[in-house]
């Protein structure tokens, strides 16, 4: 290379020192422009800073030194093929409605910070994918940065050569080092001023726009100089083309097609292009302007490439490096000013690319590699003290330095070898491996993380094996034997003839196989795997970005404390901005002056803000640490689930209702049973009453009719039948009395008259009452008057009624020849106990349980009177007096026991 440079004629014009001075002045200008833009942005006076023009010009980072110098060299070697590198991006821009518009919208909605962040975010905020893409981008971009350093160094050398007679030739390596260091400083100063990558680097973008103007102006100036200064206008140029060695149309079809495809793919996936296209985009409408303005820029850049090449080829000696024609042609014609402008153009091309690439890569490295490691090392993470903001910024600065250092080292150790264009294409093919995952991610909801990982790894591996490693040259990293015979002599694994396909251009071969295998792995991997919930949600958000402009909300009402969140947010966003954010949220929630409620919405908003600073995966992880990872039941899934939930709720309501119905039904059935039972009881009771009433009435009617007939019935009969009628009416009356009595007792409506009495007196009075009954048989009553002498407070009349009933029963039913009734009273266990035991046959065992029921008259002793209500009445009376009456089995005869308290409970209450 040096020999080439030295072959330039020594027509000294621009002293090297002046060149360095111009260069430094230019850099200072860039600093001032960037600084001024930052200031204006800080004051909110964006004005022209966010015009579509600036956006369009910033896209020119696509045109690197490779374009500026290399395109001419490319044209000098291969004719018109160089134009494919611009046709691809032109088609992408013209077709912005397809992909770019969507990418920009997604980038804005999801606060995407880089192409790695986009892929990571799309496939479930997977940091593994972020790491893969980042590594690929670093590997693919490093040679490219080296290429820029090389071009700047070479262009310096062109001028330095002029001084070679009078002074020492500056060391090319140290020039490269100085350039790299200067670029690092500029990038760090303007690229890491603000943390939020989404807040856009107005200073940098403005400086880039200025550089875009410079390089276009320089190339156009050289072009005009060549066409109208050196040659005699366009027709002369066309004539010279016809006589040049590439006058014949010799385009290789497969290369032509492959290069257009490759440049289009790289335009979308190059980290620096993604940075300016998506991340730095301030308004979607700018895209509409850029859709024609940027192709126009590319058109103008390309317009004079072929003329410069043909003039250079014809005017400069054989063997001159065509990559530097842009500089050497003006120098050759003593146009020093023009040459200096061209130098600045080349310098601009190289620096703008390096700056943007460094910013893009440092964001990726910091967000996807440094921060996750830092977070996992400090497990306690986001809540401990320490400024995460500082950590993020520092990691970005270090990353910028490291990336430039890497570029410099690559430049040093590759020895600046190979044609510029070749390195550019290798790099293009490397980053293009992201394309299937990227396009699949925004157009295909079925694309999954596993598919993306498989595609990326396979594509990248094939690229490295068939293109990247061989690009170092035979014998560098890969032995020539391996290239010609394949590894271990396996022919179909030859890096540049995979699967035995030979004769293809190596570039086409590598692009074909890497993209084909990449895409296949991506599609197959996606089809055979299932996305997780976040992935599903993100997939929908990305693919349908125009339908729901809303953003992913992955957080549910959570236990997170607003204070913890504020602490973390302050450390990432900065105290002022974080507080402003929280304050705005408080106001929105109507809680001015307090911390906002931690709603899912708010957490979603906060996550987006943090995403802008540290990337989706990291932001998600940091919030997850505070909120607890389990809260990721996703909002949109919830929306889908809502329907299900509503149905579930409805069906559970139905179920509840049907249970209630069943319960009610059961209750109704029970009630019905009860009613039926009551009805049966009532029927039975009425039937009994009817029978009990009709029987005496029958007698009364029959005998009264006999008496009415008069006739032959004698006085004897008349007397007898009148008596029967009389007795039966008394029976009827007593029955009605008993019924009323029982009814009153059963309903608890009875009025009891409590008084102090002696048990002895009550029993005596009862015995006296029974002995006076008409027609009563004689029964001897055995008593122990002394033991009966017990005081009692009760309703004496009612108690006597019970005793009378019991004595009357014994009188009626005792079937002994000499009936006896023993009455024994005593105090036992605090209760008064009175037993009535006769010497009859007693009551059959099976009947003992029913004797206290109504109408339980056991035999046909109707004549004894009573309708079988006596014992039922006794039971009710004893219950009312706080005692009880029971049948005593095994006493040798009918035996009843009456138990009661000495003082009736209700009587106590009265007193």
């Amino acid at each position: 290379m040096k020999t080439t440079v030295q072959q330039i004629w020594g027509k000294t014009v621009v002293p090297f020192n002046i060149l360095v001075l111009v260069c430094i002045l230019y850099v200072i200008l860039l600093f001032l422009v960037a600084f001024g833009a930052e200031k204006r942005a800080a004051k909110g006076q964006l004005g022209w800073l966010r015009s579509p023009l600036i956006y369009t010009l910033s896209l020119s980072v696509y045109c690197t030194a490779w374009t500026f110098y290399g395109a001419v060299g490319y044209a000098a070697r291969s004719g018109l093929e160089f134009v494919t590198i611009y046709l691809g991006p032109t088609l992408v821009m013209v077709g912005w409605w397809w992909a770019l518009r969507k990418l920009v919208r997604i980038g804005r909605a999801q606060r995407v910070t880089s192409v790695a962040d986009l892929i990571s975010s799309r496939y479930g905020k997977s940091n593994a994918l972020g790491v893969i893409v980042t590594v690929m981008a670093v590997i693919g971009t490093t040679p490219y940065i080296a290429l820029q350093l090389q071009s700047v160094t070479l262009s310096f050398a062109v001028f330095a050569n002029e001084r070679s007679a009078g002074g020492a030739l500056p060391d090319l390596n140290s020039t490269a080092l100085w350039v790299a260091a200067g670029l690092a400083v500029f990038t760090i100063v303007f690229g890491t001023r603000s943390l939020d990558a989404n807040e856009r680097h107005h200073g940098v973008v403005t400086a880039i726009a200025l550089e875009a103007v410079v390089k276009l102006a320089a190339l156009l100036a050289v072009g005009v100089f060549v066409v109208w200064g050196v040659a005699d206008g366009p027709s002369d140029i066309l004539a010279r083309i016809d006589t040049s060695h590439f006058s014949q149309w010799q385009i290789k079809g497969e290369r032509w097609f492959t290069l257009i495809f490759l440049s289009a793919a790289a335009f979308l996936t190059l980290p620096r292009m993604f940075q300016v296209l998506v991340v730095e985009n301030v308004n979607e409408r700018h895209l509409a302007t850029a859709s024609w303005a940027f192709p126009l820029y590319l058109f103008l850049i390309s317009l004079f490439v072929v003329p410069i090449a043909v003039v250079g080829l014809s005017a400069l000696p054989e063997g001159t490096n065509p990559d530097l024609f842009v500089l050497t042609v003006p120098l050759n014609y003593n146009a020093e000013g023009l040459a200096t402008l061209a130098f600045l153009g080349g310098f601009s091309s190289a620096t703008s690319m390096v700056i943007i690439a460094a910013i893009a890569l440092s964001t990726m490295v910091s967000n996807h590699i440094v921060m996750p490691i830092w977070l996992s090392v400090r497990k306690v993470g986001a809540t401990v003290s320490g400024d995460v903001r500082g950590v993020v910024l520092m990691s970005r600065r270090v990353s910028i330095g490291a990336i430039l250092a890497l570029g410099y080292l690559y430049y040093r150790f590759s020895g600046g070898g190979g044609a510029l264009a070749a390195i550019g294409l290798v790099s293009f093919a490397g980053v293009a491996q992201v394309l299937p995952a990227l396009l699949g991610g925004i157009f295909w909801r079925g694309a999954t993380r596993n598919g993306a990982v498989a595609g990326l790894i396979i594509g990248f591996s094939v690229w490295a094996y068939s293109m990247f490693i061989p690009s170092f040259g035979e014998g560098a990293l890969m032995s020539s034997a391996m290239l010609t015979d394949g590894p271990w002599g396996i022919g179909w694994l030859r890096p540049q003839a995979l699967f035995g396909i030979q004769g293809l251009d190596p570039l086409v071969h590598a692009v074909f196989w890497s993209m084909a295998l990449n895409t296949s792995a991506f599609v197959i991997g996606s089809l055979v795997s299932f996305p997780g919930p976040i992935e599903r949600l993100q997939g929908a958000q990305f693919v349908n970005v125009f339908e729901h402009s809303g953003t992913a909300r992955g957080w549910q009402g959570s236990a997170a404390e607003a204070e913890d969140l504020l602490v973390m947010a302050q450390r990432i966003l900065g105290a002022q901005q974080a507080q402003a954010l929280f304050q705005a949220e408080s106001q929105g929630q109507g809680r001015d002056g307090y911390l906002p409620d931690v709603t899912a919405d708010f957490i979603g908003k906060l996550e987006r803000e943090l995403t802008g600073s540290v990337g989706a995966a990291t932001a998600h992880a940091m919030l997850g640490q505070i909120i607890g990872g389990s809260t990721v039941s996703v909002h949109d899934l919830m929306a889908v689930a809502d329907e299900t939930a509503q149905m579930l709720e409805y069906s559970s309501q139905l179920e509840a209702k049907s249970q209630e119905l069943a319960r009610t039904g059961r209750q109704l059935r029970d009630a019905n049973e009860k009613l039926k039972e009551l009805s049966i009881q009532k029927d039975a009771f009425l039937s009994q009453i009817s029978h009990e009433l009709r029987t005496p009435m029958t007698s009364i009617r029959a005998f009264s009719e006999i008496l009415m007939d008069g006739g032959d019935a004698g006085d004897e009969y008349r007397q007898k039948y009148s008596t029967i009628i009389h007795d039966e009416t008394i029976r009827l009356t007593r029955l009605l009395d008993d019924l009323l009595d029982l009814s009153v007792l059963e309903n608890g409506q009875v009025t009891l008259n409590y008084s102090s009495a002696n048990l002895n007196d009550i029993i005596s009075s009862a015995v006296a009452a029974t002995s006076s009954l008409d027609g009563a048989r004689a029964i001897s009553i055995l008593r122990d008057g002394g033991r009966e002498n017990l005081p009692i407070t009760t309703d004496a009349d009612r108690l006597r009624q019970v005793f009378i009933n019991l004595i009357a029963n014994a009188t009626k039913y005792c079937d002994a020849r000499v009936p006896e009734l023993a009455i024994k009273a005593r105090l036992r266990g605090g209760m008064l106990v009175v037993d009535f035991v006769d010497n009859g046959s007693g009551i059959a065992k099976r009947s003992q349980s029913v004797i206290f029921e109504k109408f339980s008259r056991l035999s046909d002793h109707a004549a004894a009177g009573g309708a079988g209500l006596g014992l039922a009445i006794c039971r009710e009376i004893m219950t009312n007096l706080g005692g009880q009456i029971s049948y005593l089995p095994g006493q040798g005869g009918g035996a009843f026991r009456v138990t009661m308290p000495p003082i009736a409970p209700k009587a106590g209450a009265v007193k």
């Binding site: 039937s687 009817s690 029978h691 009709r694 029987t695 005496p696 009435m697 029958t698 007698s699 009364i700 009617r701 029959a702 005998f703 009719e705 006999i706 007939d709 032959d712 019935a713 009969y717 029967i724 039966e728 035999s859 046909d860 109707a862 004549a863």
Partner: protein, 122 residues
């Protein structure tokens, strides 16, 4: 010799009344008071007519009627049922079991006499 009537009834006053009415008209009246032995009393000496109470001690009049109808010799024996339970379902039950006639207590003496006369003359 008048027709023989068997009165199955437990209420003494009612027995007295019916016996008086029928005897006066020339019927021979036998009585039985216990439900459980009533069937045997009928079979021992089949009368021209049975007057049967429903609510008897130990056995229901309906059961007795059913048994009477189940045997050839008493299959067509006229039976006048008397009951103090004058409900509709009692009348239906009597008809189902094959009572010749059904009367509720309290009854009219003349109607009882008329019914007995009619049934006995069959």
């Amino acid at each position: 010799m008048g027709k023989r009537v068997l009165l199955i009834e437990d209420e003494p006053n009612i027995i007295e009344a019916i016996r008086f009415i029928l005897s006066r008209d020339g019927f021979a009246v036998d009585t039985h008071s216990d439900g459980s032995t009533a069937l045997q009393a009928v079979q021992a000496k089949v009368p021209d007519l049975v007057i049967l109470d429903v609510m008897l001690p130990n056995r229901s009049g309906f059961d007795i009627l059913r048994d009477l109808r189940a045997q050839a010799e008493t299959e067509n024996l006229p039976v006048l049922m008397l009951t103090a339970r004058g409900q509709k379902k009692d009348r239906e039950m009597a008809e189902r079991f094959g009572a010749s006639r059904f009367m509720t207590k309290p009854f009219s003496n003349s109607e009882v006499l008329k019914s007995v006369r009619e049934l006995a003359s069959l």
